[in-house]
Subunit: 337 residues, 2 copies
Amino acid sequence: MDELRSHYQGRPVLVTGGAGFIGANLTRALVALDAQVTVLDSLSPLYGGNLFNLDGVEERIRFVEGDQGDAKEVGRLVRDFDRVFNLVGQVSHVDSMEDPYTDLRTNVTVQIALLEALRRHRPDAKVLYAGTRGQYGRPGPRPVDESAPIAPIDVNGINKHAGEAYHFLYARAYGLRVSSLRLTNTYGPRHTMRTARQGVFAWFVRQALDGQEIRLFGGGEQLRDCNHVSDEVTALLLAMASPAADGEVFNLGSPRPVSLHAIAGAIVAAAGSGSVTRVPYPPHLQSIEIGDYVGDYGKAKRLLGWEPRVDLAEGVRDTVEFYRAHRDRYWTREVYP
Amino acid sequence: MDELRSHYQGRPVLVTGGAGFIGANLTRALVALDAQVTVLDSLSPLYGGNLFNLDGVEERIRFVEGDQGDAKEVGRLVRDFDRVFNLVGQVSHVDSMEDPYTDLRTNVTVQIALLEALRRHRPDAKVLYAGTRGQYGRPGPRPVDESAPIAPIDVNGINKHAGEAYHFLYARAYGLRVSSLRLTNTYGPRHTMRTARQGVFAWFVRQALDGQEIRLFGGGEQLRDCNHVSDEVTALLLAMASPAADGEVFNLGSPRPVSLHAIAGAIVAAAGSGSVTRVPYPPHLQSIEIGDYVGDYGKAKRLLGWEPRVDLAEGVRDTVEFYRAHRDRYWTREVYP
């Protein structure tokens, strides 16, 4: 971490979507490294931005509530930064199918606003983009490395890939430096808990803590790579700090993929409440089910020296304890600004 | 053509962008096959829609001037059609880099409006999408077949690919039938002549007919596949009529790729005026220059029985004569509705 400290200490850093799940965990890590963090977040009631996610670090960051798609506003803001963690976006596959326009705006139009601003005002900046395993769609032979075909099977995957392609295009055409991490299932503290749509892991935790039945579509045998958010934050910090990452995409992943059924079981065990049941796969969701996904993170290991550190049992305990303690900040709408 | 006639005769067909270059040539061919054609076109002053393109067939079609991105309007319209040629879009690489928002709207948002309308009202429809060689970016080994990597190097390529991906996604999720033709350099009558940005071939013709100097960036040795619009229209008609094309993408191309320099020379010869000169490649356009492009149209030949029929010399003569006769309908702004 000394290497990371020397990169970030005293450095002005912009985090878009910095009140959201990954953004806020990253912001907290940057504060711990003594970076000068500015968070830009729209605090949209639809997504995961939550001021409580920044509880305890408010005094050490600058918080800008604003529309990331407002090119003028973003243009004024970016002038001060040569490091931008670009974590704005929405991640729900189901929402993207029901309202492709909103997903397009959140995952593409907003990206254009940032990139146009950087092109004009900070072409020397480096930008970290948060991609997704959804860019690969239903993967072929596993584990999936970065050469796998791009073949998204939902609107979110199409738009997230377009957002990534825009980043690399602006790098080539205007000189920005860009890296993309294609994230897999991320879990841990500070995820939104309001709907099942933003990620099943968090929803399982809520159901378990509420003593409810976790319903696994199609039996829950689908394998998933789970990364604790603290490991993901480390990957983001390393990729930003490493010149070797410029122009590169990286898959994340874990050494031990697990089934959704095993994840749900671990959560129920840690919570001491809730139960797990299997239900048929809803027909309207079948077309966007990706089957098993196991990422090959060999490139991140090789170029960034990154490996996941938190094992699932430990990560699940940490996650369940966080929400048990802060349920009132995540369950209800009222606490949202 | 008897086979095509039996498919189209009396059949209600919708052509989006049907007052534009390819759309209008297609509409005229459909009228000749006795289809019942409805054209939807916004007649945007920025693009190629031009009522003169439909001169002589106005009485045999229904023309709807409307915003293809207006989901409600499109929703009302599509109910009557199980065959949609979707030729709306803008094609300028340079414009897309200067105004990515407009390109996104024209090439993605508008596609979502049509696909959402079809999903709701005509999930039994078949849609023909006009893709582009720009989806491949700077191609690797030539000729380029449909398995080549998708790697666009400009905003237009990213958005056109997203538009195509949306089509196949809606096919998988909602049952639409979809084919995409990835078009290469198309030339012929009824192309817009107002700027150089919508296609160099047409611009060369205008310059030659005006007795001006055609300036070739970087020497003009770049190879291009040129398809006369009548050949492209045949490919569109065949792909729509053929169940074997459902779910498939097809590259078009020509058996004899030619350099931009040779194209310009043929145009000057046919026009009997103008000249050709070579100038250095403008630095701001270098990042979006694709180099040589030669498409492999073997799949279209195999599955659709398609081959280009019009050779370049003949096509150039036909094109030059058309614009010589109708210059007043294409050169000036005033003739645009």
